[in-house]
């Protein structure tokens, strides 16, 4: 059976603000799903729900057929779910190497294997030379890549990335995307990526999910989404700082 991660009928309310309003989302093996929408659309909230950080007011979640509604983040992580945060969250006092090592140790991997994963992921993301430095001594671009390396150390079935390229230069952003694709080549991992840069979304994603004011307004291929009137008005209507 191919793996899948499905959320149905997700509602999240913040004091009357419907951050998510009846959202269905499905992640599939090997697929890259883009999650886009104007600022405040509910993208981060959806990632928080999927990773167990945000309680759902209504709705259900299924991971490979098993009901995982209401599970805590650490249990979901051990079931194969990894995420990054909007604005990197690193283990600042630990070394670059330890940050990645802990990613593997967290899900119960042995010491030797954890170190091996750290070695290979640090080279994949171009951080090998800085392995022994404290994590917070990395430049911003390095910190973003380190967070991805740490998430990949879990060997996730599903990977949720919240604006991994935000604040990076075009070159750095391209490097990051090629690293993600590199990793995906020999993995069945399904990826959800939040990204404002349409160039990235169009080149990377198999499907795109568009949110606006907590509601799904379109799910389809990048080409379909680009051609959709509703999506265009949502973006133009809000007029935020969209790169599209």
């Amino acid at each position: 059976m191919s793996s899948s991660f499905i959320a149905r009928g997700v509602h999240v309310d913040f004091d009357g603000i419907k951050a998510l309003d009846d959202v269905d989302v499905e992640l599939r093996e090997r697929e890259v799903l883009g999650l886009i929408g104007p600022n405040g659309a509910g993208k981060t909230t959806l990632v928080n729900v999927l990773s167990g950080f945000q309680r759902l007011d209504e709705g259900s979640m299924q991971l490979n057929g098993a009901n995982v509604t209401g599970w805590s983040p650490y249990r979901l992580a051990r079931r194969g779910l990894a995420r990054t945060f909007q604005g990197a969250r690193l283990f600042k006092g630990l070394s670059v190497f330890e940050n990645v090592e802990v990613g593997a140790l967290g899900v119960g991997v042995g010491r030797r294997e954890a170190k091996a994963r750290a070695e290979s992921l640090l080279s994949l993301l171009g951080l090998y030379g800085q392995a022994d430095m404290p994590a917070d001594s990395l430049a911003y671009g390095g910190q973003r890549r380190l967070e991805i390396a740490r998430a990949l150390a879990l060997r996730p079935q599903f990977l949720l990335l919240d604006e991994p390229a935000a604040g990076l230069s075009e070159l750095e952003s391209d490097e990051m995307m090629s690293a993600i694709l590199d990793f995906k080549k020999d993995s069945d991992c399904g990826v959800l990526i939040i990204e404002h840069d349409m160039r990235v979304i169009m080149s990377l994603c198999d499907r795109v999910h568009v949110l606006n004011y907590g509601k799904t307004i379109k799910v389809g291929t990048p080409a379909e989404v680009r051609a959709d009137e509703g999506v265009l008005t949502a973006y133009l209507g809000v007029g935020g700082n969209q790169d599209a």
Binding site: F53, A77, F91, E98, V102, G106, G126, D132, A139, S178
Partner: protein, 365 residues
């Protein structure tokens, strides 16, 4: 920083050297202490026993980043257990006529008393570990304080076993400067090894960033519970050593002032590093001993200063205040002793991966 290609050398440089750099100076202090007056010997021995308590305390606080205001309860349990086990059967008949027979009829030597004191404290820690570690931050700190108050009340009133507020006395005074140093060293080695285990590394990760730690699958309460039990063991060991050093003590000997003193030691040294715990214990012990001597009055050149009771308490509080204000990470900056050399990792990544990282930071949109 030198680099090395040998994993063994690297391991020695990173894992063995910092330990040597802590324990050898401590050994020198012990040797020096051994040549001094009786009073000085006792002061150095007391410092070594506090080392056991503070490093044990550090195992939980340093790795979790959460303060506990009740760790001295483990010390109380260790102390009373050691006393009950090392008093002779005849002494117990006189001192504690109503003692349950499984305690009345046993007798252990110094090491047995010390280790069993530690074990009983660890068992107590294990009993409360899970509920306590469901709490975080200040709730945990205060819950531990409540535990300390409770243990103190029990010890004060359980007269048949503890003699209550009257003194427990006649405990063989077997803790020597040498044995205290050996136990201090063992505690330091254990704390150092623990922080490099999987549990230790995961805990320090969670200390740095809780959400990120949970996102990589770390069960924070479970890991903390393990450190809590280990911590209870060593703080209990410290209590057992104290009991066998003092010979006589009562329910107030290990209580609020001991709590404050040990917290001061950890905070002043730097609570997030083992080096901080060790340096803080030495520094505060020296300061405390010095101030205590001055309490009886002293001469400052031609100036005669009369008796100043309370000088040591005020001095300690002032010192802690200064550290908190000007050096919140403690004297060591909460850093460990630096490695001697590093393992040289490949500076240029393998050819088929990414080019060297760009370092420019652009503002987040």
């Amino acid at each position: 920083m030198k680099h090395s290609n040998s994993p063994l050398l690297s391991w020695i440089g990173r894992r063995v050297w910092p330990l040597v750099a802590l324990i050898v100076p401590l050994g020198a202090i012990a040797l020096f202490g051994g040549t001094g007056s009786i009073v000085f010997q006792r002061e150095v021995t007391t410092m070594m026993m506090y080392m056991v308590v503070v490093v044990g305390y550090y195992i939980f606080v340093g790795n979790s980043g959460v303060t506990s205001f009740g760790h001295i309860s483990f010390m109380i349990i260790g102390a009373y257990t050691a006393a009950l086990l090392t008093l002779t059967v005849q002494q117990k008949i006189i001192l504690l006529p109503d003692l349950p027979s499984f305690l009345a009829d046993v007798h252990f030597g110094f090491v047995g008393g010390a280790l069993l004191g530690a074990v009983v404290a660890a068992v107590f820690a294990a009993v409360i570990a899970l509920p306590i570690n469901r709490l975080t931050g200040i709730s945990l700190s205060l819950a531990m304080f409540a535990i300390l108050l409770t243990v103190n009340v029990i010890v004060s009133h359980w007269t048949s076993v503890t003699r209550g507020v009257t003194s427990m006395f006649g405990v063989p005074q077997s803790t020597t400067l040498g044995s205290a140093f050996v136990f201090a060293s063992i505690t330091i080695v254990a704390a150092w090894m623990f922080q490099w285990t999987r549990v230790g590394l995961r805990m320090r990760a969670a200390r740095e960033d809780e959400p990120a730690a949970r996102a990589v699958g770390i069960s924070i309460p479970r890991d903390r519970a393990i450190a809590f039990i280990l911590s209870g063991f060593f703080v209990g060991l410290g209590g057992a050593l104290f009991a066998q050093f003092l010979g006589a003590f009562n329910s107030d000997t290990f209580y609020i002032s001991t709590t404050l003193l040990t917290i001061a030691m950890l905070v002043i040294g730097g609570f997030k590093s083992l080096s901080g715990a060790v340096v803080g214990t030495v520094f505060v012990s020296a300061l405390d001993a010095g101030l205590r001597r001055m309490e009886d009055g002293f001469a400052l050149g031609p100036l005669e200063v009369g008796s100043r009771p309370g000088l040591s308490a005020v001095g300690l509080a002032l010192c802690m205040l200064l550290v908190l204000v000007f050096r919140s990470e403690g004297l060591t900056g909460s850093r460990e002793i630096p490695s001697l050399w590093r393992l040289r990792r490949n500076e240029t990544p393998p050819a088929d991966t990414l080019p060297a990282p760009a370092t420019d930071r652009k503002d987040v949109s």
